[in-house]
Symmetry: C2
Subunit: 288 residues, 2 copies
């Protein structure tokens, strides 16, 4: 994954704005929020999915960068004082702490906008129809019925006891749909058949849920030094999580079972999908 992370970093560096002028502060904040950190899990899913269909690497990297731009914008806005009020992210001050709140709002806006500019560019695919499908899928995954709605749900849920179905739905909106897009992007770029596309989506649905359970476990068991952000927040806020409902042991078993299930959807692809199998295992073994 290191080589891919490096290639994604270089692609982001090239796509992000730079330069002087009084507006340069927002360029810098956008770069700060995106470069030099993060697991690059979503870009990795894009790259691994694209490899199944022989998508040229330069194109896949652009789709991978677009997903990461959206992911990073969501972190910048979610960390704001009015939202989750976090001061630490990836072991560094969050964007509104390093800059200021106004700059952080604008940097997030700029990142989100850039993601669509990147996808619509002919360098992403020579067929405009493919580019439009990517724009549509990313907008749906990250908009009011996807990630944005999920964050609203999460804020609304702070004072409420959610059951397992409700948490699953919340997490599908908040993180699952962008996961799905990451897995789908390669299929869209590579002109996959419906059967191929559906297998990737089934993989993604199980993986996304496993990822979120692992995240809850890290918040419950991890240390701030390891994780690079404040931990124990959910318990402090009295928030229902997979761990608070299932208990740590059952949550861990459920995550493992979901990873097995995710991997089972890849049989169809034989050894071509080994990268996706590896990333599935990484998702529950990671310590950050």
């Amino acid at each position: 994954m290191t080589e891919t992370a490096q290639a994604v970093e270089e692609t982001l560096d090239r796509l992000l704005p730079s330069g002087g002028g009084p507006e340069a502060r927002v360029f810098e904040a956008m770069r700060y929020a995106c470069l030099g950190g993060g697991k690059r899990l979503r870009p990795f899913l894009v790259m691994a999915g694209a490899e199944l269909f022989g998508v040229p690497r330069a194109r896949a990297l652009r789709a991978a960068a677009a997903v990461e731009l959206v992911h990073c914008y969501s972190l910048v806005h979610d960390d704001l004082p009015a939202m989750d009020d976090d001061e630490l992210r990836r072991g560094r001050p969050t964007t509104h702490i390093e800059y200021d709140e106004a700059t952080a709002v604008l940097a997030g806006d700029g990142l989100l906008t850039l993601a669509f500019e990147v996808l619509a560019d002919p360098a992403t695919h020579d067929e405009a129809d493919v580019r439009c499908r990517l724009v549509t899928a990313l907008a749906q995954a990250s908009g009011a019925r996807g990630m944005v709605g999920g964050q609203m749900y999460d804020l609304a849920a702070e004072d409420r006891a959610l059951d397992l179905d409700q948490i699953s739905r919340l997490q599908d909106m908040k993180t699952g749909q962008l996961f799905n897009f990451s897995c789908e992007a390669g299929a869209i770029l590579g002109g996959a058949s419906k059967k191929e596309h559906d297998a990737l989506l089934a993989y993604s649905r199980s993986l996304g849920l496993a990822f979120q359970i692992a995240d809850d476990l890290l918040d419950f068991e991890g240390s701030e030094d390891e994780v690079g952000k404040k931990v124990g927040k959910d318990a402090d806020a009295g928030k229902a999580t997979f761990v608070s409902i299932l208990g740590a042991e059952e949550a861990r078993n459920k995550a493992k079972a979901l990873v097995d299930k995710a991997v089972s959807h890849l049989e169809f692809y034989c050894e071509k999908a080994d990268l996706l199998r590896d990333v599935a295992r990484f998702v529950i073994e990671r310590r950050t």
Copy 2:
């Protein structure tokens, strides 16, 4: 313009999300920010431009709605306490006052995302290449080198004395480029020739500047009741504006001259462009 405003309102109403669930609060805030107010100047420019090329009305309305979604998102975010800290907009409480800051941030994010989803949809044009060109043009106009950068410039300029060239550049980024997109959208949808496209852009550049000068004059001379938002803010903040540099009389003359110049670029279109001529005059005669 009333009939167009009504059709835009109906289109926005249809495109904006609605429904129940814990995430519905962000749907409501998005609707609050977009519906039932505003001059709809940008949508009107889209519609008038599209008419020049015989673009079917239903398609033009989608592009018009997309511009208005971006415009409304920018108002929601710019009004936030960390930004311009405004409590009144279009004669009503701003979105973060009516809801809360977190919801306002998310509503803005949702509106921006929806704009790209609307443009990429086949209902906007049957050629995907045209849709991609719209996505690209809107992203460039509203991103870090356009509107978002302009707002950063504006915040950075609060403690600085700007000269006329600097204010012109700031305003071109902050409002001019979205104006240009509004005028261009019809040309893109209608497959205009380069000459036709360039004439519209030249019109837009003069008109955008006239619009901004008129805005500064309203802030300087208007009443809160008329304008529907707080006035006198620029002077209170010691901010350089076209009015503070040129004086009200010269600013008014300059705006008039710019409108004449804008209209002169339309000769080429003969009487087909009468709507665009009307809107140019409206821009400097408006009281809100």
